[in-house]
Symmetry: D2
Subunit: 383 residues, 4 copies
């Protein structure tokens, strides 16, 4: 068992006082006492950097206006930062990650980690070379029940896999918001140079790809994809539809859109094996449906007695009392901390559960293959 | 208002005493007193034809052993049959339909009506030439709530359509049943010459295609499809995955399999328009979810007060009391009867609601395009 | 196995052409070919009796205007009626049942069979004396899944019973309809002399009491009840709330109202035993939730493989295809026919599944005890 | 708008490192930066008080071993505590509350605040006399959707209220745990002197009573109750069943048990008014069902656009991303902080939303009336 005797010191890059994702990361990091947020670049405006830090409970002297300055200044402190968590516009992830890794810091990065697969590969190489933890905050695969689904599949509960359906359907782009006055956050997302390959993929699609691959344990080998926009006249990508073939022969289907008026935030993952089905929906995140062919359908709950210990510890609230996405994020932060402490103690983490930079490389390969397939009239395209 | 003063006289071809689909058709036909089953070919064994007729409540003298004999014999009776309902193996649909139409009979036919699109076109031409009703028994589009969805969309409730998702997922072929001893019914289905283009399509896929097109009111223009088998080593088609483009520009996704272990009989249709979503699941066939962007989600029920009169009449049981697939079939039979009576009375049916032979032509075009796309590495293929 | 070689001959009393419950009974009786409706009193107006019979497909000569005439006339026919099904206003059930039983006919009667417990006891005595089947059409306990619940409990699946919750919540009396112009059907229901003890109990409450007792297999021993009206100023009973004690020590709670605006037709039965819970809702009538403490929650479906044969035969449609209340009624009619045929063949029916006149006696005792408890300020009152 | 410029200083009494409710309170208090936990009695063992404080991130010097010492010591500090949060065994709530109020501290107390109604009344008098905030942590009424239900009802959305159903069903006492070796936490709960009136009421029943009264806005006037045990031979109360009459004439039903094997943590509140129904279940805590008679059923979601601003602010995560009980607790802590700051600023809080000591008085009156009714054979008993 890996325990930390003191909170690790974290800097946050992005995620200022008015950012909801910032609050999510700060609370998640500190949820279990594994981390303390001690510094950050909460605003790139020099005159707001200190006050923004203070507003999120950080010493104003450690509220920096740029990443390089922070890394340099913190390196000089005996109690300097040990890791960074990055939640800035997508095109800045790569340079910030490089800077942090090169300085020997561990990295927690929001998705997508880069705007190209080549950059992701470069980050993977740097993390490996430096022996640093690189953790990607895909929260949906860190719920107790998505983790349990992964374990059930790994244990053969539904037999060899045959079919994977994943969908993530939202309505955020159902209106032509690019024709009106956009918020800062919307503006950089609609700028392809800043948001990366395919707007909808950077926003939500990479979560769905990761969820499908993480839970199934399968890599995608080829795709036949339709990459475009449901909204007439739109020039950015709001929708990706794809058929998939996985290593080992399973088929799959992938459905991503942010232009679905009336959609809520509908994530669903269904994985069929030779023996049966595992079905998980975000709307009922604390439950998992397990239908074994010929047996009675079962609904596994987050608080069920008899869950494996490593699944049970992902839950902190008694049976029947809801938890949220925050606790899933907290699971990732705790696992990242444990990995760092294990490394320092020369301990071995049995299985890395958090999403790694290697997962991120696959994520970027996936979208590049989808785009290539679409450009080639839907032809099957290898990753 | 079209009323029939006496039940129309129906012959059933197929659907003997031990057939569940036979019972479904007989009960549905007679549900509202529109039809009386007076004759039939309930067994092709000459020595069982009479007893099979008797077992389903038909005069044994009118239990025939073959279709041609029945048509000839009934033509001589003053109280002879006025229509046939066909539920035999798929490859016999076309010749029986031809025989019935050529004899001037109205036709109710199980799906698929033929094994090729060319045959379906020929049936459409014959029905048109003879001025006969040709009704296809796609039950799922005849539930009060799928009909209401169609009407809401037609009335613009969700605005111009943008995305259509349809899925039909079953487990009937999840096991390698072709490697064991098959029942008669299974044997002809696995025989491609008898079941038609793509086993899974003939069995369930054409229902899903029809449902999507009937409710959306859209025709498919092109598909990019993966047509194959989830079951390793299987030579018949148990799965079809496709992306679709509809006339008018909407996109869609199509998911059909009978090899999904743990699937029940999961039909779901989601249609997104500019303003919102209509969502219908077979498991909750009496309810329709209507989510208009920016408004509170609504659940319309089969028995709600305030439904349009032509939807309300599709339901015969008070609010909150379940109906089944039988009543949906009965709706089709009643509409077919009304169309026949209207023709005789020189009345005009405002809108034909039951699935017609023209729908069946589109159904067969769809599968031929899917197969062609698959053969061409997933390339987009026009219908 | 009990099989009937020909349909039994049934007369229907009440349930004319425009009555939905009449259609329900006629279709249910004839669903499996066990019964043929050959006569009836479909209208008490002499000049409409014949045409009403014809309208429901019965020989107009056998459409009678009163019960006594029908019984006398049919007794003279070689092919005369063998049983009656009664669905008239409640106060007429008792005399019609008496007339039928005294004539040696088997009886199928809508609920409640009488307006007092004394009358019900008298009917039980007559049925016993004559050796006749007396079947009460409580449809909700005849769904495959309520029957399966009964069997699971009987087999000890949830251990000794501890707590029974039953509710039936409707909105039919949510508005002060008695202050407006009522339909004929409403008028007799609001007339306490005609509808029996407590309007809401005669309408729906007796169904809930029967469901709880039939599925649990328990008799109610005592109640503490609140019998009154949610609607201010109403003089008839629209609501009954009660605590119950069952033979053997289990407790229960009973919730009945027709004055709940926004209620649909919400029937739910939960039975908790020492080991776990069985939970059934009418809205999902084809599913049964079985939660055994410490085990994964299970959802049993109507079409599951592996159901006991006597449960599986209550279902006529494949897994995942909905059935309705009609099929539940058809189960009762088939069981009544089988009981009659068994008696004639000197066969023994292993377990009587349909609701009997003895159940109806308990039903009437229950409401009399509720009313007495209410009159005594909620004091516990024995049945 | 009330804003706090610095976190208020909070002491926690109870809720040590291994307590889940302790973690819930600490995280909730600090969630929005309104509070900082600076001191506490986390263990009553003098030699563990300091280490327990440190383990939860509090200065070990401010980890006290008893309440009186803490209050005295903190009073001398310039940065001493401003409020206490109490989560100790129930019989200690009253003396600790008295000590805190008498010292001029604001109080946040776990339920039930006392073991008798008289004690609760005394606390109400002291809080009023001192002008201090007294907040009870009933989390279930602090979800965005239970708060919205309260507001909808208050705004007349369903008309005058007629019927209130509340249930809280658990399985914690489904086994005879009192016959085995109990944990410390179980032992004091089974000790009637320590846990207060009726075990199940102190544990969960008071939550249900509060939820029903808070959301409906109604006070209970009389009850007819069955107070006892489902478990044979049990001497403590594991179940309470009651009928209720509310001020203004509405009726209600109350169902509480911890001895329901197979129950999860099933809280449901249904409130019917003249116009319709509001239905909320804990399992779907982020959704509210609103069924207005004659209109389409609606499902309001926590993240819906168009929610009133004071409801929207109770939610911190975007639409479709789950929150948990923690965020509901955080709402209460934020409201308590705002009330304290408002008092200091001589501001007026428009509506007190958090549960107050006056609510707690009603809570204790309710259980005393239930016990009296039960002792009197279920007779209606006024509060």
């Amino acid at each position: 068992m890996i325990t930390n005797t003191r909170p690790l010191r974290l800097a946050i890059i992005g995620g200022g006082p008015s950012s909801w994702i910032g609050g999510m990361h700060r609370r998640a990091a500190q949820f279990d006492g594994c981390w303390q947020v001690v510094a950050g670049v909460f605003s790139s405006h020099p005159d707001r950097a200190a006050s923004a830090a203070q507003a999120v409970g950080v010493d104003s002297a450690r509220g920096y206006a740029d990443v390089a300055t922070m890394i340099a200044a913190e390196a000089k402190r005996a109690d300097g930062i040990e890791a960074v968590a990055i939640m800035t516009p997508n095109d800045t992830h790569y340079p910030y990650c490089v800077a942090a890794l090169d300085a020997g810091l561990d990295v927690i990065c929001d998705k997508p980690v880069s705007t190209t697969a080549a950059e992701a590969r470069d980050l993977a190489a740097r993390a490996r070379a430096k022996g640093r933890v690189f953790c990607v905050t895909h929260g949906y695969s860190a719920y107790p029940m998505t983790r349990h689904a992964k374990q059930l599949i790994n244990d053969g509960a539904i037999g060899p896999l045959r079919f994977v359906q994943v969908e993530y359907i939202q309505s955020g782009l159902a209106k032509p918001i690019e024709q009106g006055t956009m918020t800062d956050s919307q503006r950089w997302k609609f700028n392809a140079d800043r948001s990366g390959l395919a707007l909808v993929y950077s926003a939500i699609g990479c979560h769905a790809q990761h969820l499908a691959c993480a839970v199934s344990g399968l890599a995608v080998e080829a795709v036949s994809a339709d990459v475009g926009a449901l909204m007439p006249g739109r020039t950015v990508v709001d929708t990706i539809l794809a058929s998939m073939r996985f290593a080992g022969g399973a088929r799959g289907q992938y459905t991503i859109t942010q232009a679905a008026a009336g959609g809520e935030n509908d994530i669903r993952l269904r994985i069929y094996g030779e023996r049966g089905l595992i079905d998980w929906s975000h709307r009922e995140s604390a439950y998992l449906h397990l239908n074994i062919e010929g047996e009675t359908a079962r609904t596994i709950g987050r608080g069920d007695v008899g869950l494996p210990a490593d699944i049970a510890r992902l839950s902190r609230t008694p049976r029947g009392h809801p938890e949220g996405l925050l606790e899933a994020f907290a699971n990732i932060y705790r696992e990242a901390a444990e990995a760092i402490i294990a490394r320092r103690n020369d301990q071995v983490v049995a299985t890395v559960q958090y999403p790694t930079i290697n997962d991120a490389v696959h994520t970027m390969d996936f979208i590049e293959a989808c785009i290539a397939s679409h450009a080639n009239n839907g032809a099957w395209t290898n990753l």
